[in-house]
Symmetry: C2
Subunit: 206 residues, 2 copies
């Protein structure tokens, strides 16, 4: 199971809070995993990308919808890669229609949305969970703290500057081991490197 | 000059307020106008679309940037079509970095962004301005009020349900004349119909 893309948290029928994730990282992981013979379900937020051939995909809009679809897909899965960048704040109130510009200024509260990886950690069993940490600067300590808190088996440290771009510099982190730099020319190559890193985690379970 | 696509109003380095506009309407208008021999500048927000061949395009992110680029391009132009769906509310404060989910709940103020069409109306001269009104339901009265307030020569009434989709139902409104329904199978055909509606406005100036 691979989650991909952004999610949208609507403020009204037209406006929403989101981010620049294109879903390319998750799609490349899905393509590479399918090519290696995995049965892949891609849970993907709103994006202009077509899901790769041979991959079952489930389209979602909001973080709550992504959580629900990922939860269903994860039951019985061996591996979940949390490659999506879900909107983690949700505007409240959720307005109806499209209030005009002139209705502002307008005060809004942002509440946290459900944490998908942390939620699926409950009842995870021996399913392997791999997350992404999008951090400003280096942020290895924050990524490791996130890995522990969400009970992830490994985490990919990703620079904020990679969101919405074709390339990517990243590091592979597993508890009690040194960071492995993953400097790549493209997200397709990064996807291949990540699957090679993930393979031992799956084999270790047996 | 044609504006196209959404704009983004960032809340921090990662999260932004936007809408589902794909820029397709503006790109189809640019393509159709270039094919008719017009020299077209497309001022386009973040989108996955490639601007059509033969069209000069200027990429922007925020509404303020779109306004600045449109203002420069409009100087000396005969026609401006405001086909973009700029974010009309801007979150304040603009935070640095990427505050974690756990930093919320968080209170935010949304302030109105500059109105691009209304701003360019000042010093418009005999340049023809055509706008779009995205309204929930029918909303012809609201569209006509918007046309007058922004000193538009014509306005295209568009249903909210068309944003981010391939098709479109629309109506052409000119002051003191009945609405002309523009029911189309695609945005490409709608673009052609609109240019045929616009042509007399350009000829009337001479």
């Amino acid at each position: 199971v691979i989650t991909a893309g952004p999610t949208r948290e609507h403020l009204d029928d037209v406006r929403f809070l989101s981010n620049a994730s294109t879903g390319r990282m998750g799609c490349e992981l899905a393509r590479a995993a399918a090519r290696r013979g995995a049965r892949v379900t891609l849970v993907i937020g709103p994006t202009a990308l077509k899901p790769p051939a041979g991959v079952r995909s489930v389209s979602v809009i909001s973080t709550q919808e992504m959580l629900a679809a990922a939860r269903v897909a994860a039951a019985g899965a061996d591996l979940v890669i949390f490659a999506a960048a879900p909107s983690d704040w949700r505007p409240s109130p959720r307005l109806r229609g499209k209030p005009p510009r002139e209705a502002g200024p307008f005060d809004l509260r942002l509440n946290p949305t459900p944490d998908i990886a942390a939620t699926l950690a409950r009842g995870k069993g021996d399913r392997v969970h791999v997350g992404f940490a999008l951090e400003v600067g280096r942020g290895e300590a924050r990524a490791r703290e996130k890995m522990a808190r969400k009970r992830l088996d490994a985490i990919v440290l990703n620079g904020v500057e990679n969101v919405g771009t074709g390339g990517g510099h990243a590091a592979w982190l597993v508890a009690d081991e040194q960071a492995v730099p993953l400097s790549t020319a493209s997200k397709a190559r990064l996807a291949g490197s990540l699957l090679r890193c993930i393979e031992p985690l799956l084999l270790d379970r047996e």
